[in-house]
């Protein structure tokens, strides 16, 4: 398969009190269209990745909402898969182009989270979990903490090793003007941050963020960066029904499908954006994506293999969810933007030299949905 990325853009991510969802989408979409040198009138379909517009904003019908805002009265729909909404919207765009039904589609990802209290947001995010998990008063940090404890018990992963993920991603974000936290943090700062859900601390957790991203997918040839694999898999909604709590099976299934589609092996990935909603998530992702052996990723990260300048693959040059921020529905689309920039050579100070093949890994809930994309230059 080959779907071309004609243009890609994100807004700044952060606590954007003054920016409405319309505002954010307008900025991301117009920048992407400008970069693609495509007139808005050529867009034939719009896919919007978003999770909480209904629960927090009382707004359903997001396809029509943004189609009107952008002046594009074309096919438009909201795609939802919790925190994988953005990745699923990209997948929908890929399916639209591959099917031959559309030639130019606009994929948007947007989330507005800071209008509401953190407690309310935490409660609504649990819409991605099961009823039993909600009834238990679990939060997403809590669910990943439960997995972290298993990983620590089985592989000896330590809290310091988890903290190193945050340190690395903050270093990358300090080079990214669009990130929420454009500053590095020390290991000590992460270790001393207040407990959220034991053993996860505040700086082990991605923040609450506003932001939007847009990608233009086309059928037109002669573009440089292509999506060569787009795979989705699901696993049980809740943790209690999983076979194994030290990794995400949906990620293994989706990534294996993606590697097969692309005809490559994990070793060939130069750069990747992975779903580090919590530090432990990046460690599990390294293993589930086949970059490192099970139980060995924590050490590899700590030794600097996945940091800019390391032996690779270089992970989360945007700063990841932790330091770039996690506007839920936008993340999956922003990951595509970052890899697009890397492969096109326009990633600025965070450029991975000679990056040819990249991967994005977007997860919904505690691992119930996994979306993996592989992008290649040329």
């Amino acid at each position: 398969m080959k779907v071309n990325i004609a243009g890609a853009a994100t807004t700044k991510f952060g606590e954007l009190w003054r920016r409405s969802p319309r505002d954010l989408i307008k900025e991301a979409a117009s920048n992407a269209l400008e970069q693609a040198k495509i007139k808005p009138s050529r867009v034939e379909a719009v896919f919007v990745g978003n999770m909480l517009s209904s629960a927090l904003g009382n707004q359903d019908h997001l396809g029509a909402f943004f189609a009107e805002e952008l002046g594009m009265p074309v096919a438009a729909m909201k795609i939802e898969g919790a925190c994988a909404s953005g990745g699923l919207a990209i997948h929908a765009g890929v399916m639209a182009i591959q099917s031959g039904l559309y030639e130019t589609v606009l994929v948007l990802g947007v989330e507005k989270m800071t209008d509401h209290s953190p407690e309310e947001v935490a409660q609504m995010l649990m819409g991605a979990g099961t009823d039993a998990e909600r009834e238990a008063g679990a939060t997403f940090p809590g669910l990943y903490a439960i997995m972290a404890r298993c990983h620590m018990q089985k592989y000896g992963t330590t809290e310091e090793e988890m903290a190193q993920v945050a340190v690395k991603n903050h270093y990358h974000a300090s080079l990214n003007s669009h990130a929420q936290f454009v500053f590095p943090v020390t290991l000590e700062k992460v270790m001393k941050s207040p407990k959220v859900a034991d053993p996860l601390k505040l700086l082990d957790c991605s923040p609450i963020t506003d932001g939007a991203a847009a990608v233009i997918l086309t059928k037109i040839k002669n573009n440089e960066v292509n999506i060569i694999a787009s795979a989705v898999a699901t696993d049980t909604l809740g943790l209690s029904e999983r076979e194994d709590l030290t990794g995400l099976k949906a990620v293994r299934v989706a990534s294996q499908k993606a590697y097969q589609m692309a005809g490559i092996s994990p070793k060939e990935i130069d750069v990747a954006e992975v779903h580090d909603c919590f530090t432990i998530a990046e460690i599990m992702a390294m293993e589930d994506l086949g970059f490192f052996e099970k139980g060995k990723a924590a050490r590899a990260i700590t030794s600097g293999k996945t940091k800019l300048g390391g032996s690779g693959p270089i992970i989360n040059t945007s700063g990841g969810l932790k330091a770039c921020g996690h506007p839920v529905g936008a993340t999956g689309v922003k990951q595509i933007v970052e890899i697009y920039n890397q492969l096109k050579g326009i990633a600025g100070r965070k450029q991975v030299e000679g990056a040819k093949i990249g991967l994005t890994h977007n997860v919904g809930g505690s691992g119930a949905t996994a979306v993996v994309h592989i992008l290649k230059k040329g």
């Binding site: 407690e119 409660q123 404890r149 809740g238």
Partner: protein
């Protein structure tokens, strides 16, 4: 207000989970609760393997630090779960208590 119909529909499922023994597979102590659980924090959410082979996620009650171990034996008990507010039907559900 939680729908009384949903609470009613759930009763059978709760009854099937009562009086079961199990062992803690993993757990966490929640310090930052979601809306509705503020007054309970900090509390323990545990994932337990029940004697019937299935896993279940629920709060752990009446615990001391020494009970917070993978492998701790527990049983299911009936407790109030979500906050019904001033007017709503009170939801009861299953929590774990150490044996």
């Amino acid at each position: 207000m939680i729908s009384p119909v949903k609470i009613w529909r759930n009763q059978k499922r709760i009854r099937q989970l009562l009086g079961l023994k199990g062992k803690i597979v993993s757990f966490t102590k929640i310090f930052v609760p979601p809306a509705g659980f503020e007054a309970q924090a900090p509390y323990i959410v545990a994932l337990v393997k029940l004697a019937n082979g299935q896993n279940f996620t629920a709060q752990l009650v009446d615990w001391e630090d020494k009970h917070l171990q993978i492998g701790q034996k527990v049983k299911t008990v009936l407790r109030k779960t979500r906050d019904p507010g001033e007017e709503g039907i009170i939801p009861y559900g299953v929590k774990f208590r150490r044996i």
